[in-house]
Symmetry: C2
Subunit: 320 residues, 2 copies
């Protein structure tokens, strides 16, 4: 009998997903974690190509995340932004001085023709990250939020307008022409993963852009690795970000059941297990009705031990 592969693939957006990714990185041997990162939030701003989710993963997995802000780099300074405001420039997207180096370097290298995946690997290596961070695609995909104020590029909705507009739907510009990350697709073909974990990221703007890349979710469904999804909704609330507000505005219920239903409807037979928080244990039966296993544990990650605990629970469930 072949040994179960130890490598794990995690699908992640930004902050919430990066927390579990950090737990998984701690729980696995160095290099065993592969993270497939959403790039639908990427945008060009002040001439810079910015990849917020990749950077959150890089900064979190390298121990540089700013815990108090909840985003960006620890010990960050803001001189460039202060000077930009003096010049009357657009300062609604806060770029820290050290963070700017990442964007400058990457933008320059992208314009010279490098692939985003190559550059992400180089950044991870420079920052001492042993895990593999893969952009979901080297081709541009741009999340557009459809709202009562019209269609808004994601960061305009998310940062500039602080998620205030009422959401009516989403689209992902460029997705039909985008190829999923070639390294990850290759590893899937090689059956290299022992588990696939969908982090507790926003289903609509963090996970859907990844899963809807042509060919990606069928490849995950058809791989022997179990697909474990962690609910981003706990006790009817989003732990971070606008997921609950979006679900409500879209006319969905706001509970872990509704998240599970979203994944089951859009991606039939993809999910093997749905992980919910112990405070939602009562919902387990309803979720099982959808035809998926349910695992109940503490999913709220405050401490490093919380992150590791949830990661170990998932790995144990999936036989790793």
């Amino acid at each position: 009998m072949a040994a179960v592969p130890r490598a794990v693939l995690a699908l992640s957006g930004g902050v919430g997903g990066a927390k579990l990714a950090l737990g998984l990185a701690d729980a696995l041997a160095p290099g065993e974690l592969h993270v497939l990162a959403n790039t639908g939030d990427d945008f060009r701003h002040l001439g810079l190509d910015i990849c917020p989710d990749i950077d959150t993963l890089l900064y979190t997995l390298s121990g540089r995340a700013n815990e108090s802000l909840g985003w960006g780099l620890e010990g960050e300074t803001w001189q460039a932004m202060a000077a930009l405001e003096e010049l009357g420039g657009e300062a609604w997207f806060r770029l820290g001085d050290r963070d700017l180096a990442t964007h400058l370097w990457r933008t320059d290298q992208l314009r010279s023709g490098s692939r985003l995946s190559t550059l992400t690997a180089a950044l991870a290596s420079r920052l001492g990250v042993a895990s593999h961070i893969h952009p979901m695609s080297d081709d541009p995909v741009r999340t557009v939020v459809h709202t009562d104020r019209g269609e808004l590029p994601f960061q305009r909705y998310f940062v500039r307008d602080q998620c205030e507009p009422v959401v009516t739907g989403f689209s992902f510009d460029g997705i039909s022409a985008a190829r999923p990350n070639r390294e990850v697709m290759g590893l899937l073909r090689q059956k290299a993963f022992g588990a696939v974990v969908v982090c507790p990221s926003n289903p609509f703007v963090s996970v859907d852009p990844i899963l809807q890349l042509p060919g990606l979710w069928p490849a995950l469904r058809d791989s022997p690795a179990p697909v474990v999804v962690v609910s981003p909704i706990v006790a009817g609330l989003a732990l971070k970000g606008p997921a609950a507000k979006m679900m409500s505005e879209l006319g969905l219920g706001v509970s872990a059941v509704d998240v599970a239903r979203h994944y089951c409807r859009r991606y039939p037979r993809l999910m093997d297990c749905f992980v919910i928080d112990e405070s939602d244990a009562i919902l387990a039966a309803d979720i099982r009705q959808l035809g998926v296993d349910v695992a109940v544990t503490r999913t709220v990650m405050k401490s490093r031990a919380d992150k590791q605990g949830l990661a170990r629970f998932i790995l144990q469930w999936s036989g790793n």
Copy 2:
């Protein structure tokens, strides 16, 4: 009899020229100083369009110049550069955090189709500079230094290689297709200037690129305003930068006489007066032999009073 126009046009490179520009700005009424800035030093670095001489003028005339460094902004911080070095990026050209905002804003606006002259005026206005700073051209001109190590883009020679290569000559890429600044050409046609001052900037890499723009120096020669050139060489030394080293490597003598000869040969009948330092008073007769007036004063500018004193001397000489 018409009143002598009070406006003054100064031709300037970076640090040395900006000192006299500051003195002229102090000595004139607000808005009477127009500076035509060298852009041959401009370059693209890390994807940013950087205009070192324009920025030195902006920072100096707005009182933001870093006096101790001799370049850049006062109170500057260097977090972005430190982070860039960690990422293995090119950090030989030191971009301060606040300075970065200037480059980001300008680069973004240039890519959106704005003219450099419009953007320079906007920056001056934002920084509270009453003088008019004009790029010598809105078209790209790039100074190339011919050396014993081959042809080097100016900043590679000047900053990265610290002027070490032996100079054999210069060329200005793009200059034959570049049009001189249209506002300044318009003002020259209107005979708006009471004096033209060539600041004590490097003749080869700061002043020549300006004067060699098609049609510019004949327009200066034919304007009624006297053209006053301040020697950047004092007692056989360049006060700042590689002018003396260049003259020596080019087989020229290294004295104020040799500078005057350079201007007289390349731009016949352009110069009306050559200003030399009192320590070079003995050279006055030799310079008069070239057919130009000579004015002797203290040209070394250490204090603000020095800058104002030299400016007032020049204005007085030229009848302003």
